[in-house]
Structures are given as structure tokens and as C-alpha cells.
């Protein structure tokens, strides 16, 4: 495979310098690539895909022949993150998660940050993910957000920015673990030479995080993963995590509230549950307090939770802190609670509910990316420079009708990474979602999901919109250059 022809296209590339030579941390990888015979890389790509298919990590393609299944697209060229870059990411995420948890505890209790005029009250209380039901709540150990998957992007200057905080039920970590399993087999020598930091103890750490939340007196708490069921698109992940942790995977119908505790229905009767890692949205977890017609949740769960007789991860109500309008205030939130400057900056954000910003947005729709504050997965989004005149007008109408629901950001020159296209490499835009656990302390998994927009020129990396993934190798610095790829 030839790398000389690789064109960075003027973008910041994760593996190549501007002049087309490989970055120092990626050098051993390309040396291995060069030592492989003609067609070998394509063959390894196919083998990796076959392995994923065999493991059943597939989703059903709707609208095509019944039973057609595809794997979540995966590119075997890893994205490599240098030790120096990772240090900034790790410190930045710890700072951010720490502050956001303090923020959540504050707005559902004393609301000091609002009283001090740092964050406007209407912004918080008008957010559709602000939960009245959570007022006065004090979750076990004072932690609200135990599992986070923060979306980071890199701009043309190579600087990392936080694009979105995902504080509800972030998914994708199972792909990180599975991609790693496959890639370790695909490039064992390069993997060894680069001293890639391991991700395999994530399930253990997650279980520790969950058990840390159980009522202190219990020696052997029962933790479970709560899933909406097999038809949920992230079901594979729920099942995989439960399996890796060795704890039951339950559905709402398996649980029942009795005598003030949550129980699961077993073949030997009812068994008490102490910690629930719930992968169901707030709206559905308890029909008595949220959506009354929810079939997925457990009636009475919230009351048991308030009594401290069961722990939930994440706590209900965390969504308000990843509201895209609240996001714009995170640097101020960090300053207020921690008295520190933000380590990982935000992307500059215009809040449409603020008149001045709104006018700027409406005047510059062709340059900006507009996002609905409560949507995810790449929905409810306008990429101005690539959009048609009609859709820009449509968004203009929507913004005017409901300004609180929209924010806008400049179109970033997202960094790219090489992917295999037929017999050569081409650059595609990527982002990075690291995973953070907050238990006894804050832990950032060294790696994360690199999502890649496989469509040429596309900026949307979401899997629902034609995105794929890559393994992310955080290297420890020292590089061992011995040996050739077998």
C-alpha cells in the first residue's frame, strides 16, 4: 500500500503532518504497514470485519431484504493519540466532570450558581431535561453522573475542543472494547511496539463504580444493568457490559417494587436489587413519576431511590447539564465551582434564546452549524455551508418560533484520519468520545471511540448517519521499533 500519495487536503490529520510525512507517534505503525505484502492490509480489513460479523456485533438494515445484517462499519487503521495530547484530555475531562457534578447538585438543591447570577435561571428551568422530580435529591455519595462519554473534536489548529457533554446514557464503550480485541489480533506487533495503553479493565472499573454506590452496610450488593430490551439499538452494549461484569441484565418487567425495595423476579422467587446501571432514559424509568405509559420502567422506582434503598447510575436529571445551551456556560461553571480556568475549551457557541446571538445566527446560517439543544445522534441539525437554501430557510423559521431550542457554532475544520478505501488511504473527518467513570475518584479510560464520517467530505460521524469507528490507541510515549509485522 502506498502512503506517498496521501493527501491531507489542508486539514489537521491525526496520523500525518501537513507535509504528508507520518507523525512521530504513528511512525512505527506505518513502518509495519510498509513491511506488509501487497493486498495484506485489505485482507486484514476483511478478516476484522468477518470477526465482528461472527461475534454477532451487527445491526439489522431496515428497508432492505429481511434478515440483512451489517456490522457497524469499522476501519482497521487505528487513530493514535500521543501521550502529551492525552494528558491534556485526561486532566480536562476530570476537571469538567467534577464541575458538572457540583453544578447538578447545586441546581437541584441550593441553586447558588443561579442566585449569584452566573447562569440565567430561565435557561435552566426552561430546559426540557430539567426534572422537577429531582429537586432536593441527594444521590448516594453525592455523585450524579457516574458514566460520561464526552465528545471531543480537533480543529484545524490541532486544538481539542469539547463538542458535547453526554451525561445521560452515553453508549459506544462496548465498541471500544470490541474494536480493541479485533485490532490486537490484526496488528499485534505494531500494538506491542507502540506500548498502547490498555482499555480492558473498563468493565471492572464500572462494576467498582456501581458497587461503590450501594448502601454501605451491604457486603455483597446486587448490581444489575437495566435495558429497554433487544430492540434497542444499543442492546448489544447492555448485554456485553452485563456479561463482562458478570451481573444480571434485566428489563423493566423483571423488576418490581415491594416493601420499599426493588426486587427482581427469579425462578426461586424475588431477590433484592441494590444498584441499577440503567440504560433507559429518565422519561421511561418510572411510570409513576415520569411518562405514565412507559412499559420499560419500574413503577415506584423513584420513591425507593429517594429513600436511599436503591442506587441509580446515572442519577435522573443529569440531562440538564448536557443541554446544549447550558453547555455554553460550562467554562463559567468550572470557574465558579473550582476557581480554575477551563483546560479543554468549548467550541464557541451562540445561544439563540439570547437576542444578540440569535440575530447573528439568523444572519449567518450559511456559515454556522445549528443544533437543537436536546437532540442527539446527528438529528435536528443543520450544517450551514452544506445545506440547501430550503433547509436553511426551514431552520430560520424554526429558530424564530422556538429560540430556546437552538444553539449555533462555527463550522469547524474537523481533523481527519486515514481510512482504507479500496487499495489506498484517504482522509476522513473524525471525532473522539472518551469515557469517564466517577466513583471513588474520577477515571478516564485511556482510549475511546473514534467515530469517522465514512462518506467523503462528510462532517457527520454518527452511526445513524453513515459513520463508522476506529480503535483509538493512546500511546505511552516510549516507542519500541524492533520487529516486523508477521
Amino acid at each position: 500500500m502506498e502512503f506517498q500519495k496521501y493527501d491531507t487536503g489542508g486539514f489537521f490529520d491525526e496520523l500525518f503532518d501537513a507535509d504528508g510525512s507520518s507523525r512521530p507517534e504513528a511512525e512505527p505503525l506505518f513502518r509495519r504497514f510498509a513491511s506488509l505484502s501487497e493486498g495484506e492490509i485489505e485482507q486484514r480489513q476483511k478478516a476484522a470485519e468477518a470477526a465482528l460479523y461472527h461475534m454477532g456485533i451487527t445491526f439489522t438494515v431496515y428497508g432492505s431484504d429481511e434478515g440483512t445484517e451489517r456490522i457497524f462499519p469499522f476501519d482497521i487503521v487505528p487513530r493514535i493519540v500521543s501521550a502529551g495530547d492525552w494528558d491534556i484530555i485526561e486532566r480536562g475531562l476530570k476537571q469538567r466532570i467534577h464541575a458538572l457534578n457540583l453544578f447538578l447538585d447545586d441546581i437541584y438543591n441550593d441553586q447558588k450558581i443561579i442566585a449569584q447570577g452566573i447562569v440565567p435561571p430561565e435557561l435552566v428551568f426552561s430546559g426540557s431535561s430539567f426534572r422537577q422530580q429531582c429537586k432536593g435529591l441527594s444521590p448516594p455519595r453525592g455523585i450524579w453522573c457516574h458514566v460520561t462519554g464526552t465528545d471531543l473534536v480537533r480543529d484545524g489548529d490541532g486544538q481539542f475542543y469539547v463538542l458535547e457533554d453526554n451525561l445521560r446514557c452515553p453508549s459506544g464503550v462496548s465498541y471500544v472494547l470490541q474494536n480493541r480485541e479485533v485490532l490486537k489480533r490484526t496488528f499485534p506487533v505494531a500494538f506491542e511496539a507502540l506500548k498502547v495503553r490498555p482499555v480492558t479493565d473498563y468493565p471492572n472499573r464500572l462494576l467498582e463504580t456501581l458497587e461503590y454506590l450501594a448502601p454501605a452496610a451491604l457486603n455483597d450488593p446486587v448490581a444489575v444493568v437495566l435495558t429497554p430490551g433487544v430492540y434497542n439499538s444499543a442492546y448489544f452494549e447492555h448485554s456485553y457490559l452485563a456479561q463482562q461484569m458478570g451481573i444480571p441484565l434485566v428489563e423493566g418487567r423483571d423488576l418490581v417494587v415491594m416493601d420499599g425495595y426493588v426486587h427482581m423476579r427469579t425462578t426461586k422467587g424475588f431477590e433484592r436489587v441494590d444498584v441499577i446501571y440503567r440504560r433507559i432514559d429518565d422519561d421511561f424509568i418510572d411510570p409513576k413519576e415520569f411518562k405514565a405509559d412507559s412499559m420499560l420502567g419500574v413503577a415506584g422506582l423513584m420513591e425507593v431511590y429517594r429513600q436511599g434503598r436503591v442506587a441509580l447510575a446515572n442519577a435522573p436529571g443529569t440531562g440538564i447539564a448536557d443541554d446544549k445551551a447550558v453547555y455554553a456556560y460550562v467554562p463559567k461553571i468550572i470557574k465558579y465551582y473550582l476557581d480554575e480556568e477551563v483546560i479543554l475549551p468549548n467550541v464557541p457557541t451562540y445561544i439563540c434564546s439570547e437576542e444578540k446571538d440569535c440575530q447573528h445566527v439568523l444572519d449567518n446560517l450559511d456559515k454556522l452549524v445549528v443544533k437543537a439543544v436536546n437532540e442527539s445522534g446527528g438529528y435536528g441539525m443543520l450544517v450551514g455551508p452544506h445545506a440547501s437554501q430550503e433547509s436553511r430557510e426551514e431552520f430560520s423559521r424554526r429558530i424564530r418560533a422556538n429560540p430556546r431550542n437552538y444553539i449555533a457554532q462555527p463550522t469547524l475544520a474537523l481533523s481527519r484520519a486515514p481510512v482504507i478505501v479500496d487499495d489506498h488511504l484517504e482522509g476522513r473527518h473524525v471525532d473522539l468520545r472518551p469515557y469517564i467513570l466517577y466513583g471513588e475518584d474520577i477515571y478516564v479510560l485511556p482510549g475511546g471511540l473514534t467515530r469517522v464520517a465514512l462518506k467523503k467530505g462528510s462532517l457527520v460521524v454518527n452511526s445513524s448517519q453513515g459513520g463508522g469507528s476506529k480503535d483509538t490507541w493512546v500511546v505511552s510515549g516510549a516507542v519500541n521499533n524492533q520487529g516486523g509485522e508477521p
Binding site: 461472527h54 454477532g56 430490551g229 448485554s239 418487567r253 425462578t267
Partner: protein, 327 residues
């Protein structure tokens, strides 16, 4: 163990066993085609009659040619009792408990399903039906072997065994019954080479011919029925299957053998006792078909008992309601 999980393991195992037995079922006919000169058309019509879904078949396929009937029983996704539908359900059940079973089991169910749903399946079925059905059988055996070798032999495994052996008992009784449906002996055939070949085909489709010969040497109807109903050691005989199912049931509950602590144990224990103290004379007195019919009805009641005892702490899911026992 969660009731729902036990339910899924039980049905996963039943569907894997069922897929295998549909293959065995069709095999009776394929063997006969080889062993006897018969009118091919006559030969396939009864296979449809046995299913009880004759009208449905006529509507969709028309004539009962080999090609149509094989497709109907094997690859028809619309038909609730085809091999592919069974494997679809086996896989969906497995998907719901993949964190409970071993990866080897899940990956195999997955491959097994892809084997019948893949693009080459239709051609293979048409041109090499023997190979196709042999592979179906082998795949089910492989699953059972993987389960036995990689899945802890605790409660979950015993629920799987329970499902597997109840399903197998039911299907062995139906394979025996094929003789009644397809091969209704004309009096003048009884005891001829022709009759013997038919019984040999029945034995072959239960993989029982060689083991039978070690016991009885020559083929006689009474001995074939006796072997498939009452043999204590042959792993597809009805007696053996019920005994295994009963043992698994007692391992699940911890109740001593010979006693019962719930409906499932009481019903299965009683059926076992009936079989223990019955003999071939009684079977022929009742008439083979009626005897088998009665047995299948009782086995269904055992299934209901298991459902009510272990799985019914929750609303009845549709899957269980349509978890058919009729063929």
C-alpha cells in the same frame, strides 16, 4: 436466575432441538426415496398433511412437489414451523441472554442461523438436500456440545436440558407417528421387505438404526416401537428423554427424586411413571397413533406446568403463547 432468562434458555434449547428434528423428519422421506421406488408426488403430500397446515400450504405453494415441500419446511420465513423460523427464534432467545450463555454458544447460534439464512442455502437445499439436512443436524449437535463443554452445569444449563429433552421426546413421538400418516400399512404389506424398509427409514431418521440392531437384530414393528419408546439407554428414546428432563428439573429445584414440590415436577413425574410401568402390549392395545397422541397431549400439559411454575411471575409474552407444541 431471572425467570425471563430461564425462559429464554429453555426456548433457545427447544428451538435448536426442533430445527434438528424437522431435518430428521424430512429425512424419513429422503431415505424412503432412496430405498424404495415410489411415486415422488405421493411421497411428499403426506409430509404436508402431518403439519396440520395443509390449507396454508396449498394456498402458497399449490402442488406438493419435493421442491415445494422442502422449501416450506426448511426456508420459509412465513411458516411458523420451518427450520429457518425455529433458528430465528433460537437466535432471538439467545440474543436476549447472550450475557448469560457462553460466547461460544452465542457465536455458534449466530453462525447456524447465517448458515440457513445465507444466500447459498436455497441452492444447497435444492441440489444437495441430504448434505443440507446433515449439516443442520450437525449444527444442532455442535450447539449441544458447546453448551455442555462451555456453560456451567448449573440452573441455566438444566433449564436448557429440560427444554431440549422435552422437545426431543415430543419429536421422537412424531417421527414414530410418521408411519401412521405416510406409511399407513396396507395389510398385505405388513411383514414384507417393503414394510421393513419403511421401519428402517424411521429408525434411521432418529439415528437409531445401528443401536437398534445391536438390541434386536431384525426389524419388527413391535421392536422398533419398543426401542424408540422404552429403551433406557438410547439418547433419543422417549423414556430416556423424559428421564433426563426429570433429572434436570430436580436439579433445578433441589427436590429429592420421587417427590415433588411444584406442578411441573408432579406432572412430569407422573408421566415418567406411566412410561415406566407401561409396555409394548399396552401400546398396541390402545393403537400406536392414539397412544402417541395421548402422550403428546400430556407432554403439552407438562410444558404448561413448567411455564406456570418458573416463568409466569410476569405477564405472558406473545412468544410463549405461540411457542407451539403442535406440529
Amino acid at each position: 436466575m431471572l425467570s425471563r432468562v430461564a425462559d429464554h434458555i429453555y426456548w433457545m434449547s427447544r428451538y435448536i432441538e426442533r430445527a434438528e428434528n424437522i431435518a430428521r423428519f424430512v429425512d424419513v422421506n429422503l431415505h424412503l426415496m432412496l430405498d424404495l421406488e415410489m411415486d415422488a408426488h405421493q411421497q411428499w403430500e403426506p409430509m404436508v398433511s402431518i403439519t396440520g397446515d395443509h390449507a396454508w400450504f396449498k394456498e402458497k405453494y399449490g402442488e406438493a412437489t419435493q421442491k415445494n415441500v422442502l422449501r416450506f419446511l426448511t426456508l420459509d420465513r412465513d411458516y411458523a414451523h420451518s427450520i429457518i423460523t425455529c433458528l430465528y427464534h433460537a437466535r432471538e432467545n439467545a440474543r436476549s441472554i447472550r450475557e448469560v450463555i457462553s460466547s461460544e454458544m452465542w457465536e455458534h447460534v449466530n453462525d447456524y442461523y447465517h448458515f440457513v439464512s445465507g444466500s447459498g442455502a436455497a441452492a444447497r437445499l435444492l441440489y444437495q438436500p441430504h448434505d443440507f439436512f446433515t449439516q443442520v443436524k450437525t449444527n444442532s449437535h455442535l450447539f449441544n456440545g458447546l453448551a455442555s463443554g462451555t456453560f456451567s452445569h448449573g440452573e441455566g444449563w438444566n433449564f436448557g436440558r429440560l427444554g431440549q429433552f422435552l422437545e426431543r421426546a415430543d419429536k421422537t413421538s412424531r417421527i414414530l407417528d410418521v408411519k401412521y400418516f405416510i406409511l399407513l400399512p396396507k395389510m398385505e404389506y405388513v411383514g414384507t421387505a417393503y414394510d421393513n424398509a419403511q421401519w428402517a427409514a424411521v429408525l434411521k431418521s432418529a439415528s437409531a438404526l445401528e443401536m437398534y440392531r445391536k438390541c434386536f437384530h431384525r426389524i419388527t414393528p413391535a421392536h422398533v416401537v419398543e426401542f424408540l419408546l422404552f429403551d433406557r439407554d438410547f439418547p433419543r428414546s422417549i423414556h430416556y428423554c423424559l428421564n433426563q428432563a426429570l433429572q434436570s428439573l430436580h436439579k433445578i429445584t433441589g427436590t429429592p427424586p420421587g417427590t415433588h414440590s411444584n406442578t411441573a415436577e408432579r406432572l412430569l413425574g407422573r408421566l415418567m411413571a406411566e412410561l415406566n410401568y407401561s409396555d409394548i402390549g399396552e401400546v398396541f392395545e390402545t393403537g400406536l397413533h392414539d397412544y402417541l397422541d395421548d402422550f403428546q397431549a400430556k407432554l403439552n400439559i407438562v410444558g404448561d406446568g413448567i411455564f406456570n411454575t418458573f416463568f409466569a411471575l410476569r405477564p405472558v409474552p406473545e412468544k410463549v403463547l405461540m411457542g407451539e407444541t403442535r406440529q
